[in-house]
Assembly symmetry: C2
Homo-oligomer: 403 residues x 2
């Protein structure tokens, strides 16, 4: 065989392997499992709305978009000659004002459970094809979070409950995704707020879920209590004001049976802290993201019927949350410093850090990893993620470019 | 002839008249005049990027979009067997920081003229086919502004200079478009900032323009002076701070010969006053519009190297400019008041008000006109423009709808 021919054949085999998830029989089977036509499946692959993960997890397909009621971030894969799927995080909608919203949305039930909404990053952990894996909100398999899950969790849970998925929040300073938070956590902890079945996504009722998680020693988000519907708005206001004082984010208000969809509500401090981060990178953060946080402040001050003094405090806090980070970034670029976001990871295996670096690159994140520092049996690694768009825009303005 | 046939024929004739600007010969002639292919002209008509005005001004075609360097708002019409056009307002770009921008953009010239940028609405006035007409920024013929132009201006100018167009700003409280301003004007005045030739859009040099306008007794925007390039940033900073104190908008910095494009720069008070208006109607105003005004505040505080005390004042001003109007609108809707924008017109003929009402309706603006009040020989009419989108969104939230 000629060299050219051989190379060509190798390329064909490689492409076939890569594209195995697009083989006709696979498409036919998946079509049957999801109840979509084969054309629709082909279309989803074409548009990359349904796309493989990378490397050894290629067989786990992720929905990059909500399709016919299947949440974005849902992951589907072959299992025992059939398929299995892990549903994405259901989008939790927001109350802009407490009283009218709770009365309307929960009118069918008598009491509401209130749990803390923490500020970290969303992760699902499940045993998939014999391996405990952490999926991000978008359905990617994060190598760092997967290692942390295996290190931190009592893995017996997954053997006893192979059909259950833990939905939670990774919180703490050893966090590559979310800017610094105000919890008293030394490294990183996985706070679970939901346990759901594979395939159906059916959640456990709150009491059952909390009891089960407790029995495995898992961390859970705080439960503030169960309140009768009429008293809930006033109780939640008190909770939110307390949470705000310690710079915590807010609450998720739930049907104890988990039959109605939960609703979130956040503190003013959380809105402002989002803004502080957003305006550091004013050219990268979505306009909708920024404006929605501002509008929430307007509704909260009216619903709470604030005094002029409290209103002025709120104005000052809002103004500072916007202008301080803007000033910092603009000043930094003026003085030729690069803009970046800081993160940190703590790994047991340096290989995990290497995989994570590769993973970020694949996601299109430009990041530099500092030298690992040994801490006990683990390694701490600082990460700087470059914010090119805001940096370049700001630098161009300092060079006299027009807006 | 049967009744049905007759109606059909009438309809055909009506459509033909309406579509006369799309007749093949007209398209061919216009194609030659603009230097566009006939297909391109047809395409522009199809997409309504080139569209007729209404009623008796149907023959004046307006560019609803910038096309091949022809500004949006440009108006073109038949004249003496050929065509004539009035170019739109050239977009004036903005300096986010003064010193680097002026040095870069005006490096080819020695001195800069600084004129006031006023807060009103942009109007071009010209004699078109024997009639003095006021064109809005988008190239519509505003019946109210056209009447005001005829009442207020020395019309001899247009007989002596049939080839010149006045570019200016309508400022004052008898203003249907722009919320209340801070100038000491009783009714409405037309401040001219540019005089340009028909067809070419070529501007008069500043000194010549000012002399010509003065000789006709026209109002002009204030000229703060001509400054050497090196001193201009410091001088303009002083001017801007003075303008800010009296709640004026800012300046336009120009090449005295008008060969380079002008650049605008505004006061913090102007940014904040834009925000005050924008957040009253938070669901209608563009996100980009809001964010750009916020970002300007960041650049100004860094370029001016402000003290902490001044920075805190700026934060407070920003926070209040955002939250006060938000609070007002949210509170108004909570208490079942409708949200609207107020405007006012002062007309000589009640027929003008009627035409203007019809005109707003055509533009899709929902407005209610109060009873005319006679004032001397004229009539004052208050106008309430309904802001449906913000009202409905806010009302839905008060009824418990989720965000």
């Amino acid at each position: 065989m000629k060299e050219g021919n051989k190379k060509r054949k190798e390329q064909i085999i490689k492409n076939t392997l890569k594209a195995s998830y697009r083989a006709p029989q696979f498409v036919a089977n998946l079509s049957e499992y999801l109840g979509f036509s084969e054309e629709k499946i082909e279309h989803l692959f074409e548009k990359k709305y349904l796309a493989p993960n990378w490397g050894k997890h290629e067989a786990l397909l992720r929905f990059d978009k909500e399709i016919s009621g299947i949440e974005r971030g849902t992951v589907v894969y072959e299992k025992d000659g059939g398929f299995e799927k892990i549903l994405g995080f259901p989008k939790i909608r927001r109350a802009m004002v407490l009283e009218p919203t709770l009365k309307k949305q929960f009118r069918k039930i008598r009491s509401l459970a209130v749990e803390e909404k923490m500020n970290g990053y969303n992760v699902r952990v499940a045993k998939i094809k014999g391996e405990v894996i952490a999926l991000t909100r978008s359905g990617y398999i994060c190598p760092y979070t997967s290692e942390r899950a295996k290190v931190k969790l009592n893995l017996e849970f997954f053997d006893k409950h192979p059909n259950l998925v833990l939905y939670g929040e990774m919180v703490g300073p050893d966090n590559p995704y979310v800017p610094k938070t105000s919890y008293e956590i030394e490294s990183i902890k996985f706070f679970i707020f939901d346990v759901r079945e594979k395939n159906t996504g059916k959640p456990l009722p709150i009491a059952l879920r909390r009891k089960l998680l407790k029995s495995y020693g898992f961390f859970q988000v705080k439960l503030f209590g169960e309140f009768p519907l009429e008293k809930a708005p006033a109780e939640i206001k008190k909770i939110i004001q307390q949470l705000g004082k310690i710079e915590h984010e807010g609450v998720v208000i739930k049907d104890p049976e988990m039959l109605l969809p939960p609703i979130k509500y956040t503190s003013s401090q959380s809105n402002c802290s989002d803004l502080q981060h957003a305006f550091l990178f004013y050219n990268e953060t979505g306009r909708d993201y920024m404006l929605s946080r501002i509008v929430r402040e307007g509704f909260q001050t009216v619903e709470w019927n604030e005094s002029e003094k409290d209103f002025e405090k709120r104005c000052m806090q809002l103004g500072k949350s916007i202008l301080s980070p803007l000033r910092k970034s603009i000043q930094d670029v003026k003085e030729k410093r690069r803009l970046f976001e800081e993160g940190r990871i703590r790994v047991r295996e340096l290989e995990t850090a290497r995989c994570f670096e590769e993973y970020l690159k694949r996601l299109g994140v430009e990041a530099s990893f500092e030298e690992p520092k040994p801490v006990g049996e683990e390694f701490l690694i600082e990460i700087k993620k470059i914010n090119k768009s805001t940096h370049d825009k700001t630098a161009a303005i300092w060079e006299g470019q027009l807006w």
